[in-house]
Amino acid sequence: MNFTLKIWRQRDAKSQGAFETYKVENISADTSFLEMMDILNNNLIHEGKEPVAFDHDCREGICGMCSMHINGHAHGPSQAVTTCQMYMRKFKDGSTITIEPWRSAAFPVIRDLVVDRSAYDKILQAGGFISVRTNSVPDGNAIPIPKADADESMDAAACVGCGACAATCKNGSAMLFVAARVSSLAKLPQGKVEGARRAKSMVAKMDELGFGNCTNTGACQAQCPKQVSIAHIARLNREFLAAKFQD
């Protein structure tokens, strides 16, 4: 298969970026999208040009590192997969593919397709944890947790922190990301103890870091590679309001 690639190139956060066009040829349909990028980069280096910088690591859809906006969709046109799990058979032979970095004010570009997502770390540092010390805990089976609750907690915990939700949201909101963590812990008895504080401080941090507000368009859910449901946003809202009433 052959493709024309329009890729965003940007030297660093301060420089202006622009699209550049490249061709890749003889790509097997079984090649993954990022392997196609590897091939492009290897060709570029042979031509003495700098390769396209992009984030990636596990290539199994779990580390959350890869982060490309492909043909207008976060992680590309396929549903429920990260960029690294997309294969070239999903694209039409001979087509043009547009590749951009995440576009979000809270995720400044570092280079080309690489963005700075440390804002997500900061939100979690604001309260996305249960304050237990190492070795100061009861037996694992001391608190039975209904299977349905554990399962729902796991649904939310599937979030890989890739940033697709905020990059997709027209308001640049990180609500789905914040909700995933808050909701995952809120479904468990261990997480309830600090529930009110957690919801308030994580939301406050999200606002402080320049993420937008949620207007319930559901775009985040549609683009989430882990299909985290916006039902968790409802739970976050409930947790947040309940916490405010406690004040």
Binding site: G48, R59, I62, P138, A150, G161, K187, L188
Partner: protein, 648 residues
């Protein structure tokens, strides 16, 4: 000069050793902990849990990781589960049984006392993770669920769907975030350690490269912990993440830390087969699939040919024409034999010509029987995400046709030599998790990597490091304007300059792929004296080529992934040779190390306990010099070493 290796194994009964040791080692008072700095390199399960626990204790901790967030570390990709000796299933599991299975699974090449301690603290890990909010799978009664893994006859594996590593790492990362928020841990993402700094024979800091700006930074500390995982990417194609590398460990080796059993590599039996030359990465299919999946190839060569040509589908092959070779060869463990055994058995069938894809390098993993027995819905619940992933990659629906799988490089049991305190041969330098060598012997059992990472980080290192640091309470802050730091930084700069100056014609990937092929063909699943000698010569040749013909673009003072890769490849080019040398020395077969000259009549690994019941610890002697080997004898006080038997 050979090492004087003291494993510092405590005296006494096996079950008492860790308790006795904890009682005997020194502790540091809270007031003094505040004065002490610790650097942790790597933020996977080992690094994150260690840094969080050390921060909680009151030490000043700095953590470094190469990705954009600690949460990306490759521990996150572990799918199947984590072992613990809880005996929640009432199937007569115990600490001793977990210990015994691990020692036996490692083919009696691990240290008894370390492995026992691992089994002992395994139960605490589950408690810890539950308290952190890790959503482990549960039964309808609300209690924790378990499943089985290879090399065990009990169900002791705890799991969170097919994302156990992710959930455990998010737990450790959350603990870390708590400490970052509290100010006890400072995080340096997108930083790579490029050298260890040693002063007066003790580790005192690192040189790290800021991967965004390219700046070289000096960081001093009273102790340094290496938690950077394994070096499986020396093979180019592996299940490791693309950026996983052996470099931090290798810098320690270059600076004098002993490197133990480098040849012990785990080839995982259930990976998606290689599809062609454009591939950069192999994908693992969790071992948990062997709970319900049955591995087979056709009995008749005509069926093999029909499947390869597409004339027949695997589902067309009648039950009696299928060779469930693991069930045939190992009735007691069946499809749940340890990984090394399963991988070799797949190789044996493929070598005999029964491989089921066009390359002849694939076998089937079939869920037909399980779907008939349990229904599609149950299978979907258990493995849904793995099945989806498989279909995404291969375009084959595994609910209808069996998966195709083949062994691939997955884990390295070898690593930096450590004593019982997890300290390397360099005082003040520690190695934990996959980066060290101590617990898995010659083969690691499934669901034990997560266990070891968290055991070391949460429950072992935070105690043992205090014993060393108790001697440092009077020591001032480490100064980084010293000669040792100057020289280390200059050395790193010289390395970088040298690579840019080559201006050759081959890219990092071009050369890395060739190294990978040399390794896979000669230092892979089956090794011989000839293949290993050949590998050493070829790697040396390739290394010379690297220094003559590498093509590097960009600059050192910017975000430059090619430079990162080139530095890692430079280390792999030496590490590969070290692995081959170690494999050449070890004239026996054990666990994942299979020397074709040493096998039983049935083709099983044949150990030579009289000659090789030791850990081979290598000392660096310069790039083109043969390293020196020192032996740590592995004394077995409590377990009788036997030929491993998974048949009855």
């Amino acid at each position: 000069m050979a090492y004087t290796l003291d494993a510092k194994t405590p005296a006494g009964e096996l079950a008492q050793k860790w308790s006795n040791h904890k009682a005997a080692i020194k502790v540091v008072s809270p007031a003094n902990k505040r004065k002490l700095d610790i650097i942790v390199v790597g933020t996977g399960l080992g690094g994150a849990s260690a840094a969080a626990s050390l921060g909680e204790l009151g030490y000043n901790v700095k953590i470094f990781c190469i990705s954009d967030s600690p949460r990306r570390a490759h521990s996150i990709a572990a799918q199947g589960g984590i072992n613990a000796a809880k005996n929640y299933q009432n199937d007569n599991d115990s600490i001793y049984r977990l210990f015994y299975d691990t020692i036996k699974g490692g083919d009696y090449r691990a240290r008894e006392a370390n492995v026992y301690r691992l089994a002992e603290v395994s139960n605490l890990i589950i408690d810890q993770c539950v308290a952190q909010g890790v959503p482990f799978a549960r039964e309808y009664g609300g209690l924790l669920a378990n499943r089985s893994f290879g090399g065990a006859q009990v169900s002791r594996t705890f799991y969170a769907r097919g994302q156990t590593g992710q959930q455990l790492l998010l737990g450790a990362y959350a603990a870390l975030n708590k400490e970052i928020a509290a100010g006890s841990v400072k995080s340096y993402p997108r930083h790579e350690m490029l050298d260890i700094v040693i002063e007066n024979g003790e580790a005192c800091g690192i040189i790290a490269r800021n991967l965004v700006t390219g700046e070289l930074e000096r960081h001093g500390a009273h102790a340094v912990v290496i938690a950077t995982g394994g070096y499986g990417n020396v093979f180019f194609l592996s299940t490791n993440a693309m950026a996983s590398n052996g470099s931090a460990a290798f810098q320690c080796y270059r600076k004098g830390a002993g490197f133990a059993n480098p040849c012990f590599t785990q080839i995982h039996p259930t990976c998606i087969p290689v599809h062609g030359t454009q591939q950069s990465k192999l994908t693992l299919m969790s071992e948990s699939l062997r709970n319900d999946g049955r591995i087979w190839v056709p009995k008749k060569m005509e069926d093999v040919k029909a499947i390869r040509s597409g004339a027949k589908k695997p589902s067309d092959i009648a039950e009696e024409d299928r060779d469930y070779y693991l069930e045939r060869r190992y009735p007691a463990f069946g499809n749940l034999v340890p990984r090394d055994v399963a991988s070799r058995a797949a190789k044996e069938r493929c070598d005999a010509g029964f491989g089921v894809n066009e390359t002849g390098l694939a076998v089937f993993l079939d869920f037909k029987t399980a779907i008939e027995r349990l229904g599609k819905e149950t299978i979907k619940q258990r493995y849904g995400n793995l099945f989806d992933m498989y279909e995404e990659i291969t375009d084959v629906n595994p609910y209808e046709q069996p998966m195709q799988i083949f062994p691939a490089v997955h884990y390295t049991m070898g690593g930096i030599w450590v004593d019982y305190n997890l300290m390397t041969t360099i005082p003040g330098l520690y190695a934990i998790g996959e980066a060290n060598f101590s617990d898995h012997g010659a083969n690691r059992l499934g669901a034990s990597a997560l266990m070891q990472g968290l055991a070391d980080g949460y429950f072992v290192l935070p105690y043992t490091i205090g014993d060393y640091l108790s001697k440092k309470i009077q020591a001032p802050k480490v100064k980084t304007d010293t000669k040792a730091f100057d020289e280390a930084e200059k050395g790193v700069q010289a390395r970088i300059d040298r690579l840019f100056a080559i201006k050759g014609t081959q890219t990092v990937d071009d050369i890395h792929k060739r190294l990978g092929l040399i390794m896979w063909d000669n230092v892979g699943m089956a090794r011989t004296k000839e293949s290993l000698e050949k590998a050493i010569v070829e790697i040396q040749k390739l290394r010379k080529e690297f220094y003559k013909d590498l093509k590097l673009v960009g600059t050192a003072d910017s975000f430059n992934v090619e430079l990162e890769k080139a530095l890692r490849l430079e280390d792999f080019l030496e590490l590969g040779e070290l692995m081959a040398r170690d494999a050449l020395n070890r004239e026996e077969s054990c666990g994942g190390h299979f020397r074709s000259e040493h096998q039983t009549e049935d083709g099983e690994a044949l150990r030579h306990d009289d000659k090789f019941a030791y850990a081979a610890v290598w000392e660096y002697k310069g790039i083109d010099n043969v390293p020196e080997m020192t032996i740590e004898n592995l004394e077995y006080e409590f377990v009788h070493r036997a030929q491993r038997n998974y048949k009855d």
